[in-house]
Symmetry: none
Subunit: 244 residues, 2 copies
């Protein structure tokens, strides 16, 4: 195995869940249909039952299938959407299992003093340094989301040296943060985009956008990051699974 191969190698259970997602999207496994039994999947993929179950668990968590004891695993109705909102993950993780390719362009990445911006979710010293990040997400080359993030540099030292075109913010936060990234709060609104947002997404200023604001906390309750995200509903939908 070459070094390149090792980077591209996914765990077997992810390969299986991805293969099943593909079969579902292609219509090979239509909505409401039953997936092959776990035993059948074992032989189809040549793995042990635990690995099949690990793959099915992912699909259940993503709301793509539903497993019922004694009956089987069924394809859920509704087109499969990433469940963005249920757990604290970055947008790229949320969208990454779509069949489309997700790419990121960094418009701007710089260190600024807190006095340089107007909206904080928490009181800051004017001189405190923030990493300001401004990016566009593309799905198959089509701009679908504009993301602005602010990270408190003293709580994530060195994060400014990350290449955010290839590394997700949450991945970088996890390794750079001085504490554990543990919780967050998101709000959703519908807005009309300002001129620069509209231009960067290639839409008119009369196209409604889903506007998401997010604050991320360390486990001691400190705010470490906050962001504003505009998403074009024509291309990405925010979905979440709910339980009682």
């Amino acid at each position: 195995m070459t070094e390149t191969d090792r980077h591209l190698m996914l765990p077997i259970h992810e390969q299986i869940s991805e293969a099943l997602r593909t079969r579902i999207r292609s219509g090979d496994l239509p909505v409401g249909s039953r997936l092959p039994t776990e035993t059948a999947l074992m032989s189809q993929f040549g793995v042990a039952r635990g690995t099949v179950r690990r793959a099915l668990r992912t699909l259940n968590e993503q709301g793509i299938v539903q497993t019922l004891q004694g009956k089987g695993t069924y394809v859920r109705s509704g087109r499969p959407e990433p469940s963005i909102a249920q757990t604290l993950v970055g947008l790229s993780e949320s969208l990454s299992y779509s069949e489309k390719s997700l790419t990121t362009t960094v418009l701007q990445q710089q260190i600024i003093p807190a006095s340089g911006i107007s909206r904080f979710p928490t009181p800051l010293e004017p001189a405190e340094q923030l990493l300001s990040l401004d990016r566009i997400r593309f799905l198959d080359g089509v701009p679908v989301a504009r993301l602005k993030n602010w990270v408190r540099l003293q709580l994530a030292p060195g994060i400014d040296r990350t290449d955010f075109a290839t590394t997700a913010l949450f991945t970088a936060l996890d390794s750079a943060a001085t504490g554990q990234v543990s919780s967050g709060r998101r709000t959703f609104e519908a807005v009309l985009p300002g001129g620069d947002i509209a231009q960067s997404l290639g839409i008119s200023t009369t196209t409604p956008l889903l506007f998401l604001t997010q604050v991320t906390y360390l486990d001691d309750g400190t705010v470490i990051e906050w962001s504003d995200v505009w998403m074009d509903s024509h291309h990405v939908t925010v979905a979440m699974n709910l339980t009682r």
Copy 2:
């Protein structure tokens, strides 16, 4: 083992996760502390590693602990308050956190055949009867949301006799449903309202609205209800708490 014992017998992994929850609550395992390693828990509880991992998975999903590869499993800080959108509740429950008064007007409430509508999240017989509900929600007298719901009458017999001006749909569903209302899926988009939606909310057709679609399932996976909701972001925002 007696018959009673058998009913009370919980899976071992649940007994373990409950035991750990108790140790955390008691302060035996304080916030931020590391749990015993999986190997240590194996011998403490006399089970295989898979069982320990199944128990830790539950605690991770509940946001009580956080497991980090190569490091260990740590007790997380106290959980944020119940979030609006993370659990399956009706909109009235979600908005009642606000101090403003919430009222509802029923525009239409009638029984229609499935053939009378165009969009189902699940295949239906054309003759199947649906309760069709169309309502407006007011916050302090200002219209903020338009709600359209469809309920499969055969799965919630008698629900059509509910007074939905005073009773929340989910309350009625709970008592009328033939099964347990257990899960749901919501998606969010930003849209421009059609003329009737705009008019009912007293806004123009160029005001962007948050558009929420929801499907509600019984615990056997059957779709029992689905809905379309338009919300005016100027008056209500959807917020949710997230955990890792």
